[in-house]
Amino acid sequence: MKPRVGFFDFASCEGCQLTVLNLENELLDLVELMEIVEFREISSAHGEELDIAFVEGSICRPEDVKRLRAIRARSRQLIALGACADTAGINALTSDRPVAELVREVYGDKGEAFLVAGRPRPLEAFVPVDGRVPGCPIDGGEFLTVLQALLIGRTPELPTFAVCAECKLRELPCTFERDVICLGPITRAGCNAHCIAEGDRCRGCRGMVDAPRSGPYYRILEEYGLSEEQIRDELRLYNLGGEAKK
């Protein structure tokens, strides 16, 4: 019997699920390998027991926690899909400010009275996670690799080295050469240095490697003239979420 797979989302842009749908060349083969029993974005079908649940998005509210636990309870394996699920991603950008203040800012004084929200957290803060596909958005190829590993019963593994290495392998010019700060040296590889190849810099959406050499890296940033505050600002975009895991 084909493995039963479901896709779910919480606070997110749903771009990671869309990235799965954007695998046009592979989609018809994928449908042969697994039975997609839940995918609200494109399907109104519902399933019960699941072999694999891919979950996108951060967890903010008590009802999110409840729904996440219910998904976990009926899934043999649960995979964090994308940065929001993996590290709280960009949602954690405001995590150092009180939620009530944010609510007042966006919704005015009336909103505060009936809004129930909490700090965005990654899935791992509430349930065990069996694997993850990092990135904002995820890399379609990496999603396939993780899926394949799960389908043949192998523990999915992510690269332990940094984006810098992939950048060198693609023979891309280092952004530091044009005085542009890049988070490639401490960010987990697996995206094939996509943003740098496209002319941008790495902003760290995939999260840091297991043992980032932060000290020497900050020293380099300081040599490039960044203040402590600016360094924190660089990391804040995606990498303060590590604190959100606690």
Partner: protein, 637 residues
Amino acid sequence: METRAATPLRSRPGPAETPAGTLAWYRLSRSDIDRLVRSLNSAYEVVGARCRNGRYTLDRITDPAELALEFPPRVHSPKKFLFPNWEKLFRFRLGGKIMLEAEKAAMPRVIFGMHPCDLHAVRILDDCLFEGEADSAYRAKRQATVLIGVDCEPDDYCFCTSLGTDRIDSGFDLFLHRVDDGYLARVGTLRGQQLLRRHLPELQPVDDPHLAPASKACRRSIRFPVESLAPVLGEVYDHPVWKKIGDRCIGCGSCNLLCPTCYCFNVQDRLDLNLKGGERVRTWDSCQFDQFTRVSGGSDFRPDQTDRQRHRFFRKYKYLWEKHQRTACVGCGRCSRECLAGIDNTDVLNSLFTEQATAELTPAPGVEYQPQMAELVHVEELTEREKLFRLRLPKAVDFRPGAFLQVSVFGVGEAPLTIASAPDPENREIELVVRAKGNLTRALHRLSVGAAIGVRGPFGNGFPVDEFVGRDVLLVAGGIGLVTLRSLLLTILARRQDFGRVMLLYGSRSVDAFLFRDDLKRWHLGEELDCRFAVQEFNARWGVTGGDITHLFRDLDIVPARAVAAVSGPAVMYRNVNPLLFGLGFSPDSVYLNLERHMKCGLGKCGRCQINDITVCQCGPIFPYSRIRHLREAIER
């Protein structure tokens, strides 16, 4: 006991390295080269440097106009074509049985634009990948690839001139020298010759133009001879410089990935989308990466960048030097050029040198072979054949017991002689024992007190005395082999409380042949040492057993588990004694042998002391048995 083949099975590198008879030269214009590229494109994938957005890369060239022959050193290494980052080793099918599908043959390729350093790098890859079981995936690509060299101008990061890799005389199929009105092609192989004949048939060879080698200037350099790198590094394993660069390193691995000689790789299975099959691929790895030295159980034997950077340097300049007598660095500067943390190989090496520089490391040519003069202060006859010499050196020296001195008598020659006295960094005087046997030793015997004797050294790795601390020590000496052990014994006795039981087994032809008879008598009667003697001629006065030294091993009361053995004598003794020691239960790590008699120049150059893959004077002459058990030449002959 594991055995190793006496000579490694070494497959020849694929391309015909044989020069094409007499070296031929051809004159080419740029339009000849364009025609060559166009013509080659029908049979080969042509690769060369081309400029995109101000940056040169080595890429497929279909339009000859795009091919650049003068380009800066700042391109990625051509390694990517010979040993690509992503290489399929084989295909497999899942489901029931596994079916192997062979990889297709390598694509014929011509690489235009190998700088001399990159050609040198290919030699290093050959050394490493053809060694033992040849890497057939590499061999296939190497064989199918035509290498065409071009010259290059060093930039700020190059230091090829320090390593002698700024020029090259072989290892290419063709080499294009830029001359005023075009190029002079130098043929390196038969294949190179045929390539020109086939694709530019109208070209006629020209006479050897006797090109003056272009002189290159590198801003960076290693300020001492390349051969001293390995010995210097041997002394600085714990040097603070490793932590200094380790603390800067961000572990990005760029230094390895860009290096033209780094070839460490990882192997992974990649599945087909339909999960019916897949391929096993290898991808480049880096000794700077976290996963690289993680072993089963999760521990990491080289856990931080300090260890990893040291390893990188040691591998480049020491380990592979000792194996292949070539540094695994060609001075291309790629690692330093692209290092965000600014780690620079020449800086690191030069700073180590400055601190380690001593009289032994000499900058001027030939100076390392020049002795200094010592004074003979005492001569004493030990036996009919052996005399003790006491020399006063120009300055006090330190060494390990087992080290040797190169001793010269001008007009006669030079020989290594083991030091018989204990090391004493305060004392300028040392003792040697000389057996009059050859020209030099007979000449020494003729000298009297006050004579000047040439000396170099001390050289060599002696006994690791500190590792013996707390253990029982068994010394086994045969004949003149006692000289070496005397140095060790005196060292031990000077700090006797640091060791357990100390036992000396000494075998000789006859009592008359005993060396250091006064010492032996004192030791024999004293409490510090348990001495046992064997002579082939029985002698009641000394109470010695008749027979050779193996007799002393009967009823030998020693606990091998807590003992080390130091054995010094002729090969025949090793042949007989080693099995007895191991029979008793000594481990190969705790038995030390002396291979001093093999040495000659003391610098690891002359090749005399090369026993199988080890140079005795550099790595020895004292070795733990485990290190040399595969050296059949040392132990069996």
